[in-house]
């Protein structure tokens, strides 16, 4: 549409046509088209697993597309490594920072491309000059001599951005830059992004917080199931429109209808304190979960939710306080004893804590239930029993795999998650600790997981649900607790709270309501 107005030639910083990338079991990018104009801020939106990160990796040369062409500044290019991308002026700021804590800001920035004097010594004067030049040009203020370990998250991110600019990048890729930031830091980041744009840089960033996208982006491209759905201007759409583009026409709703909450306490946590290096990360947390109840725990990542989960599961040391399962104090129990007593666990990172990726599915279902039938009898593993149970889980929980002998790594994320949910649910737990149970899985699997949790709730299961998806929390929970810097700062009724208000509580701002 741009070309019919006066046939003016518009320089596009990036132009992707027909990019397709396949991974074992999934097509991550399916005929993706993307045009980013020079000097604009372009947002890429999409659900977890929509293919955003893969697309960014292709752009940065970390992965090669199976099909499609890529143009940078009008030239067809083929990137086979990040150094090719850097040469073309493309820089990437990863979601997880890659900084050396014990070096200073300046040392981190020059790390890997140090200017040298005669004899191979680092020319710090030249480095500093170039640093000031870059930081000054884009209005990025930071003390170059500060050790990185003393920096806040937002400042570390700024160091990463300077690092990329220092290497001459004019096209910046930011992978979920706001995911790790608190609201004030997000504002600062957006100010920096505007400065960068004013300085002539092109920014491509991934985000799935829709308000933020509308605020900062000049264009928005939406991905769904690996395909480009639309490219829109922020003035033309609302957050609702964007959400619809992201998930398709019907938004699944995680509503739980009638209350099934009983007054039988399944798990009681009292005055729980967990220390990390003498610093309390869980502070005097007290709450109870009843049979048939889902207690949602909201909070910005890193406010003690993970440590709380670890304390309940038994993998973190409890400094003081107590945990009671039905009528037994389990504070000092081992993980195995707790699992055997009926605590089910859906970990937030299924690859790290949930699966033996190279082992067949039937061995994966044994994990966590080694001591119980039908998985074992006495000291022996019951191979036939385990296989049969896995076969049941495969049918009941719709795990899509050719058989139970394939390795877990062959399954897609959603199916891996369904296997884990099936494994935990079929063991008939008293309490289920579900940490981000639908993170990174597709909409269909998400709906299945919600249905499973709801059904178990109706059958009297007590669930602790930790999630970053506020709609999921509000939709599923009977009670919502908000954690902020290790403490429970609010107990809310999901029937009356909106995601916006909940967000305010999570940043520690909403306690006055």
């Amino acid at each position: 549409m741009r070309f019919d107005t006066g046939r003016r030639r518009v320089t596009n910083a990036i132009e992707l046509t027909g990019i397709t990338k396949r991974f074992p079991g999934v097509v991550a990018n399916d005929n993706v088209n993307l045009t980013v104009e020079a000097g604009e801020i372009h947002a890429i939106c999409g659900e977890n697993g929509a293919g955003k990160s893969t697309l960014m990796k292709i752009l940065y040369g970390m992965q090669e597309a199976d099909e499609g062409t890529m143009k940078v500044n009008g030239e067809v290019v083929k990137l086979s490594s990040p150094s090719d991308a850097i040469e073309l002026g493309i820089g990437m700021v990863h979601q997880h920072f890659m900084l050396a804590d014990n070096l200073t800001v300046l040392e981190n920035v020059i790390l890997g491309s140090e200017p040298t004097k005669a004899g191979g010594r680092i020319d710090f004067a030249a480095a500093r000059e170039h640093f000031e030049e870059v930081a000054g040009a884009y209005g990025l203020t930071i003390d170059p001599d500060e050790p990185v370990e003393h920096l806040e998250v937002g400042e570390r991110q700024r160091v990463e951005i300077i690092k990329v600019l220092y290497r001459g990048a004019s096209i910046l890729i930011l992978d979920e830059p706001t995911a790790v930031l608190v609201p004030q830091e997000v504002e600062a980041l957006f100010r920096n992004m505007r400065e960068l744009k004013a300085g002539g840089a092109t920014i491509l960033f991934i985000d799935h917080k829709l308000e933020e996208v509308l605020e900062i982006a000049d264009s928005i491209t939406v991905l769904r199931h690996g395909r480009t759905v639309a490219t829109v201007k922020p003035g033309d759409v609302t957050t609702g429109d964007l959400a619809e583009l992201m998930v398709g026409s019907e938004l699944p709703k995680p509503d739980t209808s009638d209350s099934t909450v009983t007054d039988v306490t399944a798990l009681a946590v009292k005055d729980l304190v967990v220390l990390d290096d003498e610093r309390p990360v869980v502070k005097d947390v007290t709450f109870a979960v009843h049979e048939g109840e889902i207690v949602g725990i909201a909070g910005v990542e890193g406010n003690g939710q993970n440590e709380l989960v670890d304390a309940i599961i038994g993998t973190a040391e409890i400094s003081s306080g107590s945990i009671t399962l039905v009528d037994e104090v389990i504070t000092k129990w081992s993980v195995r004893d707790r699992r055997d007593a009926g605590i089910g666990y859906v970990p937030q990172d299924r690859h790290r804590e949930g699966l033996l990726l190279r082992a067949p599915l039937w061995e994966n279902t044994i994990l966590g239930h080694q001591t119980k039938r039908p998985f074992s009898s006495g000291p022996w593993i019951d191979r036939a029993g385990s296989r049969a149970r896995t076969e049941e889980i495969r049918t009941d929980f719709d795990v899509r795999s050719p058989n139970v002998e394939v390795a877990a790594l062959a399954l897609s994320g959603g199916n891996q998650q369904k296997l884990i949910i099936g494994r935990e649910m079929s063991a008939d737990p008293k309490v289920l600790v579900a940490s981000h149970p639908t993170r990174g899985i597709d909409v269909g699997a998400q709906a299945a997981v919600w249905a499973d949790i709801r059904e178990a709730r109706a059958n009297g299961l007590a669930t602790i649900l930790i999630s970053a998806d506020l709609d999921e929390l509000i939709g599923l929970s009977d009670t919502i607790l908000v954690m902020f810097s290790g403490e429970i700062v609010a107990v809310l009724d999901p029937a009356t709270i909106t995601p916006r208000d909940l967000g305010a509580y999570m940043t520690g701002a909403g306690s006055h309501t």
Binding site: G25, V26, G354, G368, H369, S376, P402
Partner: protein, 373 residues
């Protein structure tokens, strides 16, 4: 069914290919050094068919196999027990000393020697395990250190204290009496074949090695303990969240590995030399690591690997006698086979991963067609 066939071909094909590659490379080396590879390998093969060479091969393969199992127990848990070397030498030393010091009825005497050997091996290896779980010392470092302490420290010192005859040039522990020796399997083999010549005796410890292999298979693949062991090895975080106590597993694995390592030297102690002396065979612990890698920690695979290494060792003597090739060629073949096998396994495992993913994706696609139909 074709899938199963493909898998088998892939599994067996990898080490076979590695062996062919190693032979090819060894041939080139032989040509460069001025020997005729066909002549050299021909000599090896011709001799390999002789009953005496087979006996010799099995005798040499036995400690390789036990040592490989000891290393494999650690590997299955991602523990790198480099200390099999020190563990078996120390165990053999104490076991030989104990065996020479007492006089017991036949079966009991041999039993005592084995109990001492496994206990000493387990203790020495357990030290590394305890250091790891209490002080966070990496087991690679600690077991290497313990190797030095065992060989250069304890054995060097104690063999001067417990020595049988200080004047002898090759002094060692007191000779174990007849009651503490394991009978050879010659009479059993001779039922099926001709009489075994050249004074060769098939070691009774071979039976022990077979039992160890069987136990290893059953414990690792069929028991809860084995499952916990493998789970800890393939994903320690998932294992921990799944209720496997990580510290206990580390100590248990090191104890088991060490106990097995303790039996590596038994061929020498109860059926060959009947003492520990200065020329006691060293290096079996490191050879075991190689065999475990070659056999992919699989009880059958390691047996094949041990026999192969045993055969190559047995052949080196023949090459020296016939002079058709330098005997060192055997070591070159062993090294190249190992390297080539490790590479081949990696290639095969990648092919297999892709295969499985493709199958899973097909199942997914099929299901979706069914749903949409």
């Amino acid at each position: 069914m074709t899938g199963l066939l493909r898998r088998t071909v892939l599994t067996v094909g990898a080490p076979l290919l590695a062996a062919v590659f190693a032979l090819g490379l060894a041939s080139i080396v032989l040509l460069i050094s001025g020997s005729n590879p066909i002549e050299g390998f021909g000599d090896m093969l011709r001799n390999g068919r002789e009953l005496e060479t087979i006996i010799d091969t099995v005798n040499r393969a036995t400690p390789f196999y036990i040592s490989a199992v000891a290393a494999a127990i650690g590997f299955r848990m991602n523990l790198f027990n480099i200390g099999v070397e020190g563990q078996y030498l120390l165990a053999a030393f104490f076991a030989a000393a104990a065996g020479g010091a007492v006089d017991l009825p036949p079966v009991l005497h041999v039993g005592l020697i084995f109990v001492v050997a496994t206990s000493v091996g387990a203790f020495w290896s357990g030290l590394a395990g305890v250091l790891k779980v209490t002080r966070g010392v990496n087991e690679v470092i600690s077991t290497i250190m313990l190797n030095f302490i065992a060989l250069g420290g304890l054995i060097a010192w104690l063999s001067r204290v417990w020595v049988d005859d200080v004047q002898a040039t090759n002094s060692g522990t007191k000779i174990i009496p007849e009651s503490g020796r394991m009978p050879s399997l010659n009479s059993i083999v001779e039922i099926f074949t001709r009489e075994i010549g050249k004074g060769r005796r098939l070691t009774g410890v071979f039976v022990v090695a077979l039992v160890i292999g069987l136990l290893y298979h059953v414990i690792v693949n069929r028991t809860r303990f084995g499952f916990d062991l493998r789970a800890s090895g393939s994903n320690p975080f998932a294992a921990r969240a799944g209720g496997v106590p990580p510290r206990r597993m580390i100590v248990m694995a090191m104890l088991l590995s060490g106990a097995t390592a303790g039996m590596v030297g038994m061929v020498q102690v109860v059926s060959d030399r009947f003492k520990y002396d200065q020329s006691f065979i060293q290096g079996l612990g490191f050879a075991g690591i190689a065999v475990a890698l070659l056999g992919r920690n699989h009880p059958g695979g390691m047996m094949v690997g041990a026999l192969l290494f045993g055969f190559l060792d047995a052949s080196s003597g023949i090459l020296q006698l016939s002079g058709s090739a330098p005997r060192e060629i055997v070591v070159i073949i062993q090294g190249v086979i190992l390297l080539a096998a490790v590479v081949a396994y990696e290639v095969v495992s990648r092919i297999r991963d892709r295969e499985e993913a493709r199958l899973a994706a097909e199942a997914l696609a099929k299901k979706q067609i069914e749903v949409s139909a």
